[in-house]
Amino acid sequence: MEGLSRRGLGHAALAAAITVPAMAKAQTAASGPPIRIGYSMSLSGGLAGNGRPALLAHRIWAEDVNAKGGLLGRPVQLVHYDDQSTGAQVPGIYTKLIDVDKVDLVISGYATAIIAPAMPVVMQRQMAFVSLFGTGVNADFKYDRYFSINPAGSQVKETFAKGFFDIAMAMDPKPRSIALVNLDSDFHQRTAESARFLAKEHKLRVVYDRAYPPSTVDFSPIIRSVQAARPDIVFVGSYPPDTAGMLRAASELRANFALFGGPMIGPHITAQKLQLGPILNNLVVWDVYAPEPTLQFPGTQALIERYQPLAAKENTDALGHYVPPLAYAQMQVLEQAVKRVGRIDQAALAADMHANSFDTVIGPLRFDALGEWAEERNLYTQYQGIQGNGIEQFRKAGTQVILYPPRYKSGDLRTPYTAGA
């Protein structure tokens, strides 16, 4: 946890001793007891690869806010505990945050598996709750103080895979068959359901539809079976270790599909981009951000430029294109609501979040009745022209072009996908 330990207090005191004289000169210096924002975050375990960049973005936000005089004139303080990527740890953490640490505000950690276990505790205490990368979490809870920072929107079945199918159906010739492969996980079951729904809408013949367990080591039987089914296009939902295995197998088995991709989480992480290199060429991947000129909002580039040197120092995701912009936006939503309301009042904060839109580093946001984005913004991007395994090419526009939605489109589809051949 940060900010509550004895050593942390010592550091804070030292920092205060050094910074107070300078701060005193500033008209907008934060003062009074801090506004404490509590949450669990995956700093170890399988989700830590994205949890640590999220925390880094939160810290950048806290520095920004405190440098500008704090929130309501008070400094902000982050109070977080490592949930070890285990949902079972989460209810206890939120109980402690709210009942013992007496935090003023709560937000979620990273991903659906961590957000859902926090919901009963947060709902019981009637706290406003801004979540990060949760998909369909509030579909069953229907909690009116829940707000999601995830572009999937509330109509996941109808819209999640829409971009992929719109791209596919614009190809010439049009595809007539599809294969569906997905990891047996909550998120990927939902995305596969969307793909099944849209395949039916577009009258595509589903020639392969299988889920694989998280313990899968060798992906070549899956790719080979998909090849044997001879689909025109392939929609895959996978998490990082599986994505690497799947794409390696596709490369080894000389895969050749008119369109291949989907919510293949993996190349979103810098290390995997570098590892796979040209195997990513022509892969169509669901994403939330790409460094394209069509998707720049005030503050986006500045955040990434501040994040990258810190990430290098802390040995976490080098580029920070995936989680950090959304994590920063999560805090901006909270910040803007608190500023508008003018006090810490959970009901008023929730009412404000429902009523107003927010300007964030990922663009303007507005929430619907379920707290999801009123307008979904699932991006479908394609890796193009990758040569070798250098990192610099991934910083530049044109390497990961946006194909969907049309308003952010920055390039044209290239076919087929041949896994680097």
């Binding site: 700093l43 047996d184 060798d218 039987p221 270790p241 080894e252």
Partner: protein, 293 residues
């Protein structure tokens, strides 16, 4: 060739290659669990430790990852010998090796995993072996070197270990300690020294398996979890103290998993593979190559 036949043959070949990786992961456990009766549940965590050290050394030197894992084997042997000294002193000597010993290795597993996160971060690490992008085509059968080379090196190392156990005095003492540790004293052999040596060999194989693993797939601190069930199942199926049985069981496990995934979907793979384990134990409770007590 008939498409179904091609699918079957490719399933068998890729299963054998996968089985080679499983054999590498299980061989060390066959010594510690099968021969020494030490339930080292941290074995896959040590495999991941080896994999991540190999990845770091590969990034620094560019040497072949499997060569690096062989060079690391003495360090892993020393680590294993040291760990056994602790285990023996605090648990085995007092006769507390059952539940307490298991808890000890659970603790060791968590310490290794958390230590790895603190040292190298939670991200995945990988190596890019020179041969990893090459695939041999034998007619309609694909043989990726990413799988073939680690499997071959692993099986060669296991073969060398089997020769050592069968033909050297120390090797036979290790085999003997599995059967009757007190009888060794009558031959003026210190069973504790033999077990220390054997446990070191077990961990040296974990390091070697780590080198094979990181060639096959990217690795993070928790990558060992998916292997815990498999490696114990393979060692039990093979007959505990039989290295040959362990290799055969590993290859069978790989083939059953991949053929099932090819024809019935990957969801069925673990169920069918572990179902086969139950079947073997029902017919031969001592495992494929185990001896009845």
């Amino acid at each position: 060739m008939d498409p179904d036949l091609a699918l079957l043959l490719n399933g068998v070949v890729s299963g054998l290659l996968l089985g080679g990786l499983y054999a590498a992961a299980a061989a060390g456990l066959s010594i510690s669990f099968g021969m020494l009766d030490v339930v080292n549940i941290a074995h896959p965590a040590f495999m991941v430790l080896g994999a991540l050290i190999v990845a770091l050394l590969w990034a620094a030197t560019g040497l072949d990852p499997l060569l690096l894992s062989i060079l690391l084997a003495p360090a892993f042997w020393a680590l294993g010998a040291g760990l056994y000294v602790i285990y023996h002193h605090f648990f085995e000597r007092r006769g507390d090796e059952a539940i307490q010993g298991l808890a000890f290795f659970f603790g060791v597993m968590f310490i290794v995993e958390v230590g790895l996160v603190l040292a190298v971060g939670p991200e995945q690490h990988f190596v890019d072996a020179a041969y990893a992008a090459t695939t041999w085509r034998l007619g309609e059968i694909d043989v990726p070197l990413r799988m073939l080379v680690p499997a071959t090196v692993a099986l060669a190392a296991i073969g060398a270990l089997a020769l050592f156990l069968r033909h050297s005095f120390t090797g036979r003492a290790i085999a003997a300690v599995a059967q009757d540790r007190d009888a060794l004293r009558l031959l003026a052999i210190d069973p504790i020294r033999i077990k220390r040596l054997a446990f070191g060999i077990s961990l040296a194989f974990a390091g070697l398996a780590g080198g094979a693993l990181v060639v096959v797939q990217p690795v993070d601190a928790w990558s060992g979890h998916v292997f815990i069930g498999r490696v114990f199942a393979i060692v039990i199926m093979g007959g505990l103290s039989s290295l040959g049985g362990c290799v055969l069981a590993a290859l069978a496990f790989g083939v059953v998993e991949n053929v099932t995934a090819s024809f019935f979907g990957p969801s069925w793979s673990p169920a069918v593979a572990f179902g086969c384990l139950l079947l073997v134990l029902a017919v031969r409770p001592q495992g494929l190559f185990g001896r009845m007590a």
